[in-house]
Symmetry: C2
Subunit: 328 residues, 2 copies
């Protein structure tokens, strides 16, 4: 009996989950739900139906876990609590400041429906959070460092696209390697925003647009670019398509801590991700947590959960016995 | 109300736990128990008593978690099941092939006593196991690689010391950097034993001993050295004391996996430890899992647990709310 997965939305992240389902024989894609006209949504999986999201309540007994592919700005704050009352749900909510509020809303709904709602799953928040948390528990005296990249930031790419005269753009966040090395060497540096990451922008300008004005507007944009060493390279539309079509990402979480009665010993814990496809990796993490949600629900558990609340064994299709034999 | 920790044994690992307790204000060291004459055991913590292990049953209500500092060969197979019936216990059992048997024994005892018994805690088994397991659940199609070092292997150092004419020795296990790089680059190499690690031996010979025979005996020793590129360097006793007194260790766990409907995207997950003191880091991990054992016991849970069965939040002194706010 496989775990029946429903997908709400069919953007990059949902397609990542769909691909992950094809690699996990204990899971199957039951249906995709969309706010668009279902007839207009063509999905990769054969023989899997697409329905309007208005149909979702009818699937209450046919879907084990609903994975939400929506965005954190407007979709998830509404969708996750709404559907957590009907389904076990998993989302990738990543608006840090609003997590306590989102947790409370999802917890209330999930408890009312006796379901499991897993929020903020992915790699950051998600895997990186897990590593920060465990490493800090193990080495309570120390510093955490998180570096992102090299990878495409959708938010920064969008910000560039909103500038007048810009046809398309791709922005890469790049960790400053010399700063990462300092942390690795146990120097515990205090790092400014500028010292942690650089930003590389590849921009397609409209014909006749003032490139030096575009470059200036990018580099001076507050919050997004002004605090960083930013490079702007103008390229052709073809070049953007050929060389910057992917969505790679990744990064590092490091903890540098001390032990010993005299705090004389230093330890460095480093977790690193190098991802060819951000949405496919994130989708793979979401699916593993969907498995966990389903199992915890089957045990009678309910309420909102984060990566901190879920015993790792729930993520794996292997039994406890197999895990101890092959992974311990 | 702090968590009352008892320590059985007072070797390197127990001293590592003792140092960790000094960094965790929610834990306190209640007593150390020894098989030796208690009067002969001087411990670092002031005002903490040392008792004979025969006294342990009397402390049933005064100790929340007993951490076992003994070895996997003969101590833990007996001690962990024995004491799991009386106490919540944590051990670092690392004889891979005997884990299923050890798990079964500890599970039976802990359930009989309604206690929690956490086994095989440390960094490998322990943190490395956790990373292998989670990474495999997230990327089910791929390869796992584990490299150890650079670090001191006590077992290999002991093996050299048993050779005639050897006064003292220190053996370092060193990962082959070019092989680690191949894995990092996603080449998925098939690596022989020799291609994964080299072994560096620093040997103090007895006066007049035949050094070339010693070197030959080391390099040809089956299981320990014959499958590796091994270097032997003879040094003086003073040099060994001055330059090789520490117990550093560490290593890498890597998972290389693919995603995508055509398996067209590759991902590398890397977890790396660089430890100045193997026993102090291991002791710190044991203490975090002692906290988890205590909390799970308080919730009415019982039986044998491994790192796979324990929700990460139990490891931290912070509340769920604080964790979500600061670590997610």
């Amino acid at each position: 009996m496989s775990i029946k997965i429903g997908l709400l939305g069919y953007g990059n992240l949902s397609r990542g989950v769909e691909a992950a389902i094809s690699q996990n024989p204990d899971c199957e894609l039951t249906a995709v739900f969309t706010r668009r006209d279902p007839a207009s949504v063509k999905i990769a999986s054969k023989d899997v139906p697409v329905y309007s999201d208005a149909e979702l309540p009818k699937f209450k007994d046919q879907i084990d876990v609903l994975i939400l592919g929506g965005g954190s700005a407007t979709d998830l704050p509404v969708q996750t609590p709404k559907y957590a009352e009907m389904f076990n749900v998993v989302d990738s909510f990543d608006t840090h400041a609003r997590i306590p509020e989102h947790y409370a809303n999802v917890d209330q709904a999930a408890k009312a429906g006796k379901k499991i709602g897993v929020i903020s799953v992915g790699w950051d928040p998600g895997m990186f959070s897990l590593l920060r948390m465990i490493s800090t528990a193990v080495l309570p005296e120390g510093e955490n460092y998180t570096f992102w990249g090299k990878g495409v930031s959708q938010g920064h790419s969008d910000a560039i696209r909103r500038i007048e005269g810009v046809k398309d753009a791709r922005q890469y966040t790049v960790p400053v390697e010399s700063s990462v090395e300092k942390v690795r060497n146990g120097e515990n540096p205090e790092l400014s925003t500028r010292e942690k990451h650089t930003r590389e922008c590849f921009v397609v300008a409209e014909e006749g647009a003032d490139r030096s004005r575009i470059e200036k507007e990018i580099k001076e944009m507050p919050n997004y670019f002004s605090d960083y060493d930013t490079t702007v390279t103008f390229i052709s539309e073809e070049e953007l398509k050929e060389q910057h079509a992917g969505l790679p990402h990744g990064g590092f979480v490091l903890r540098s801590g001390v032990t010993g009665l005299e705090k004389e010993h230093q330890h460095i814990i480093e977790y690193r991700l190098k991802l060819d496809s951000n949405p496919e990796f994130t989708g793979s993490v979401l699916l593993a947590y969907a498995r966990a949600a389903y199992r915890m629900y089957q045990e009678g558990n309910c309420g909102c959960k984060t990566v901190f609340d879920i015993a790792p064994a729930y993520l794996s299709p292997l039994s406890g016995e197999e895990l101890r034999k092959t992974m311990l």
